[in-house]
Amino acid sequence: MLPAGRLTLFRIAIINILRRPARSLCLAGVVALLAFVLIGGSLLANSLSNGAANMADRLGADALIVPAGYEYDVEGALLRGEPSSFYLSGDLVYRLMQLAGIKQASPQLFIATFASSHCSFPVQMIGYDPQTDFVIVPWLSQSLPAGLPDGEVVVGSSIKGMVGDTLMFFGRDYPVVGKLEATGTGFDTSVFVNMTTARVALGDYVKLGGLMNVPSDDANAVSSITVQIEPGYDRATFTRSVRAGFRDEGVGVVLTQRLIGSVSSGLDVLLGIIVVLISFLWILSIGVLALLFTLSLGERRREFAVFRALGAARHQIALLVLIESALISLGGALVGTALVSLVYLSFSPLIGISIEMPYLQPAAPVIALLLVVGLLASSVTGPLAALFTALKTGRQATASLFKAGE
């Protein structure tokens, strides 16, 4: 008995696709690759933009005063989560905070924990002054409105430890009272304590042999001073005054605008490269698919001649070709989208660590939108590529499609 089922153009297209798996897989593979690169590139670009925007939000300060020669280290700590320890003496701090042009200033204390084994990574401990801080307090107050008590820590999103856990630093236990959202910056691999707690930790650090740069007998040493400059006060003037006034005392200045600017310009270049690559690949894919469709449809001239001989109209032939190309394209786009979702989202943390730039994966709705748009954009590639050939095949006179039998 014959199988049931109407042989609609759609079903005919599916049969043609399934009976020629090698050809179909080849065409779908090109679209899958396009979808992978298109969506992967978009996710990467979005994550980098997010990270840069978040960094600009989080930094808060206009300038950071640090020991001379440690400008790169503070950049590393803030942008790439590279822990380090460096200090300014307490006496310098008092004089620096009296400089002209400063609207607000607040000290911070950085301590890098030890790497206890080959498997663990040092973490940045950041101590802040609750009375004067204007960078970390607004952020922490969202989860700790009453402030951070002595002896307790708030951890960044990438630190192992949840609220209620206890972490050990320099031989002392610290209860975790808060965990911050991801920022895509070095704050994600940092733990935050108030200044009192930080000084205790610094003492423990020294007792355990941590000698890096710690000024001896200086209970008021800090690592940096975050500065908000008076509105209208020229930043270049401020920088010059710091360098001139403290030339021989080992003081350096990092303007956060420059920091953000260098990240932004680096990001712009990278985003530009991504956009160019994606555009190039898209055009190339359309070209390759058009060529493959033309070759494949050329081989199928006799098949289409038979359809015409059986009474198929020209538009039906064109429609059949377009349906086939759309189905193959959709299949390839779905595979590419599924693949990039799996690979990119699984390896996103590793990508963020390796890229050494602020990196923050977008929220789920944004990811979903990028996936859908990428899927649709890739899906139309096949029909676009096949359009010309489809119309041409439909138009060719049936007799010319048959081999001359004379």
């Binding site: 014959l2 042989l7 038979v306 015409r308 059986l310 039906q316 081999k403 001359a404």
Partner: protein, 221 residues
């Protein structure tokens, strides 16, 4: 008359001059007629068949099928006419390799909007051709003779009034050739007009009339 062709002419350009592949051909075919057209390679017999089927537009002359002037129809109407009134058996087998034998036979039914299910008619045709047991096989698994029968069954699915066959027995052994020509005779006796283009003289004894094509011109035997 079912098929009336008058002064059919088709010219092609070759190098510096035109030549007429079909030159002022007149032809009439009625129900139960079984005509064979023979001729040397290049005589224009396949071009004539293509003109009658409406695959080619004539430079001069007309083709009337059941009173309808083929060249006056647009592509959709001409395709519909071809689908409903003409059964075409192309040279070679013309069986679609991606479809089973059963799907090949049913396919023409679905090319234009129709009610009903052709499964029963397809089954009947396959039984008449003696290949019902091959319904779920693919063409690659069939012999040349079996493929030709599939082609014939497919051509008859929509009960056409005219059956056109271009070299239907080429590449077949004598027994298969004889069987195919017998089938055409039976189809003609049942009421369908049959026009076969062939270069094999052995096929002629089955036809009710033998026509000869030479240098684009058609003459009776």
């Amino acid at each position: 008359m079912l098929l009336v062709a008058r002064h059919l002419t088709k010219r092609y350009r070759r190098a510096t001059s035109d030549f007429a592949a079909v030159d002022q051909v007149d032809l009439e075919l009625g129900e139960k007629d079984f005509f064979c057209i023979t001729g040397h390679s290049g005589s224009g017999k396949s071009t004539l068949l293509n003109l009658i089927a409406g695959f080619l537009a004539p430079d001069e002359g007309t083709v009337l099928l059941d009173g309808e002037k083929l060249s006056a129809l647009d592509d959709v109407a001409a395709s519909y006419l071809r689908n409903t009134q003409i059964g075409y058996i192309p040279q070679g087998s013309g069986v679609l390799a991606n479809f089973t034998v059963g799907d090949n036979v049913r396919l023409p039914f679905y090319l234009h909007r129709r009610m009903g299910d052709p499964a029963q008619r397809a089954q009947t045709l396959l039984e008449q051709m003696g290949i019902a047991h091959l319904a779920n096989q693919y063409p690659a698994q069939l012999s040349g003779g079996e493929l030709r029968r599939v082609s014939i069954a497919r051509a008859l699915i929509n009960k056409p009034c005219l059956l056109l066959a271009d070299e239907p027995t080429s590449d077949l052994d004598p027994d298969a050739r004889e069987a195919v020509m017998e089938l055409f005779s039976a189809i003609a006796r049942a009421g369908t007009a049959v026009l076969v283009v062939t270069h094999e003289q052995e096929n002629l004894r089955h036809a009710t009339r033998h026509l000869i094509m030479a240098s684009g011109r058609l003459s009776g035997a």
